[in-house]
């Protein structure tokens, strides 16, 4: 069928962006990352704008979250995670000695905890689990990447974790 209709463009009409990425077009968040081989995307939520799953039965999860209020600071968050893994809390001094990793250009505390994992809202813990994560502070906000799953599975995917963290970045607006 031939296209025969047309319309005049108003001088007041805002100019659209030519060559926009799909995420920009659909108002998706401006995050870019590479999903490691063998991983898949899981259902996202406001708390988990990037949510990935891995493992034969997708028992492992890895997600990025951003808390505008910071969730009490880096130490409070590290200790909250330790509590989830049934581990004792640490002090500021111990936090300062923890290894560091960069998350989206911000240096954060790298967490590696083994233990019995109790996820949020669960009543029973899962034994022999491992958690890897980075807790970073971005002004008042807290920026987190957390990976958790059966210990052997997490250890087998620790390189993929690093690859995912390295790939995470913000998409900058393109010039017109």
């Amino acid at each position: 069928m031939e296209i025969t209709h047309s319309r005049d463009i108003s001088q007041y009409e805002p100019k659209p962006k030519v060559g926009a990425y799909p995420q920009e077009r659909f108002g998706d968040e401006r995050l870019i990352w590479q999903t490691p081989d063998g991983w898949s995307q899981a259902e996202r939520s406001q708390m988990r704008p990037v949510n990935l799953a891995f493992g034969p039965n997708k028992e492992g999860e890895c997600y990025l979250s951003l808390l505008p209020g910071g969730g009490g600071g880096v130490l409070a968050n590290v200790n909250r995670w330790r509590k989830q893994m049934a581990q004792p809390e640490i002090t500021e001094e111990e936090l300062a000695k923890m290894p560091k990793k960069t998350l989206m250009g911000i240096e954060g505390a790298f967490v590696s905890i083994e233990g019995a994992y109790t996820s949020v809202g669960a009543t029973e813990s899962k034994a022999d689990y491992k958690m890897l994560g980075i807790v970073a502070a971005m002004g008042e906000a807290g920026l987190f990447v957390k990976m958790v799953g059966p210990k052997a599975l997490v250890e087998a995917n620790s390189q993929a974790f690093d690859q995912f963290v390295t790939s995470l970045r913000l998409r900058m607006p393109q010039g017109q």
Binding site: M1, E2, I3, T4, H5, S6, R7, D8, I9, S10, Q11, Y12, E13, K15, P16, K17, V18, G19, A20, P22, E24, R25, F26, G27, D28, T35, S40, Q41, R44, Q176
Partner: protein
């Protein structure tokens, strides 16, 4: 001449000019008006209008104690055409012409004129919204219902053409998943295949193994909103280049930016949006005021102080409820307002309708015709009553 000896055209004329046909048509108009009005609460105004008043035939689903009974009915378009013909044949051609029937003749012609006004309005009327923040100006209005796929060309210097190619909704709204149609234009270096139109949809991230995913996204159908303005349509397109390659994309009414393809140093943006019409003048909103009923959030009065700009000439105007601005066949009404993070936004309805004033003229003519008719009866009655009786 007996009825049986009449020719077929004469019989048809008798039928078309008969009181019986008038009564049947008017009765059906009453019935569809009743059903059409009630159905608005279930299917919304737009769909109800299309089903009952803009159709030739329709099936009304009558809910009889929980059982759906389909009732075939003539549509509003058919009934109004029949009514026009009936009045033309019966009340204009067949009626005895003379001073005694002049009032009736005027009234019937005026009613036919009103039906013609409805037809002209149906064909030519455009209506849409022009929302403006204070300080903002625009010279176009956007349809409430008419979706389009529009294609614009952009040069390497980033300059776009002053017109956009437009595919009207009637050419793709029937393309449900599984149906496709290919569009072309002489000056386009590609063909566009359109499919999977959804009247109301979201765009969601597709799963890893979803074959229907396009750029990692897919269309998620959503139940149609009762009021069509709330629907956000989506459609899949496939741009087929002359070298045999193709590029697929999703177009969505609520997308922030259009879909882009590049051919031979030129870029083409494709977007699913609502039809926009350009005005021969621009409106700039200077100040918006709203007055509420005391103690409520219910608007008593909205007033927009605007500047009408025509070829650089500026004229201050005030648009308020029931007091529109009219110019060059366009009417700008105050419709509503919205409060957002960017401030107050005044929403105007802009309409262009060649038959805008016809119903008013028609009503005046009907009234004049009836006044003449009744005055003539009154005069005849009085002259008979006052005539001295002969003993």
């Amino acid at each position: 001449m007996s009825a049986s000896s009449k020719s077929l055209p004469a019989k048809i004329f008798d039928l078309l000019s008969s009181y019986g046909l008038a009564i049947i048509v008017l009765s059906f108009l009453l019935i569809i008006t009743y059903f059409g009005t009630l159905s608005q609460k279930d299917i919304g105004l737009l769909d109800s209008q299309a089903k009952y008043f803009e159709s030739w035939f329709l099936i009304h689903e009558w809910n009889l104690w929980g059982m759906i009974v389909p009732i075939p009915l003539p549509g509003g378009a058919l009934l109004m055409v029949l009514l026009f013909i009936n009045m033309l044949c019966g009340a204009v051609i067949r009626i005895r012409k003379g001073w005694r029937t002049i009032g009736v003749l005027i009234s019937h012609i005026a009613i036919m004129f009103m039906l013609a006004a409805g037809f002209v309005s149906f064909i030519y009327k455009t209506e849409g919204a022009m929302p403006l923040f204070e300080g903002q100006a625009s010279d176009q209005y956007q349809s409430y219902h008419e979706r389009i796929i529009e294609i614009r060309q952009w040069g390497a210097d980033g300059k776009g053409t002053s017109t956009a190619r437009v595919i009207p909704m009637k050419h793709f709204s029937d393309l449900e998943p599984g149906r496709a149609r290919t569009f072309f234009a002489k000056d386009l270096p590609f063909e566009l295949q359109v499919t999977a139109y959804r009247r109301n949809a979201n765009i969601v991230q597709a799963g890893e193994d979803e074959k229907s995913a396009i750029d990692g996204y897919r269309i998620q159908p959503v139940a149609n909103a009762k009021e069509d303005e709330a629907n956000t349509a989506a459609v899949e397109v496939s741009v087929k280049f002359q070298d045999g390659t193709e590029q697929r994309g999703i177009l969505w009414e609520r997308e922030f930016e259009p879909f882009t393809v590049k051919v031979g140093g030129m870029s083409y943006t494709l977007a699913l949006s609502r039809m926009k019409w350009k005005l021969p003048f621009a409106i700039r909103l200077n100040d918006f005021q709203r007055e509420l009923h005391p103690g409520t959030m219910k608007a008593k009065k909205y007033t927009s102080h605007v500047t009408k700009i025509t070829d650089g000439r500026e004229e201050p105007k005030v648009v308020t409820m029931n007091v529109p601005v009219r110019d060059q066949g366009y009417v700008v009404y105050q419709a509503s307002f919205s409060q957002g993070t960017s401030g107050e936004q005044s929403v105007f309805t802009v309409a262009s309708n060649p038959s805008d004033q016809w119903p008013l003229w028609s009503c005046v003519a009907v009234a004049i015709g009836l006044v003449i008719h009744f005055m003539m009866h009154l005069v005849r009655f009085l002259s008979r009553a006052l005539k001295p009786k002969v003993a």
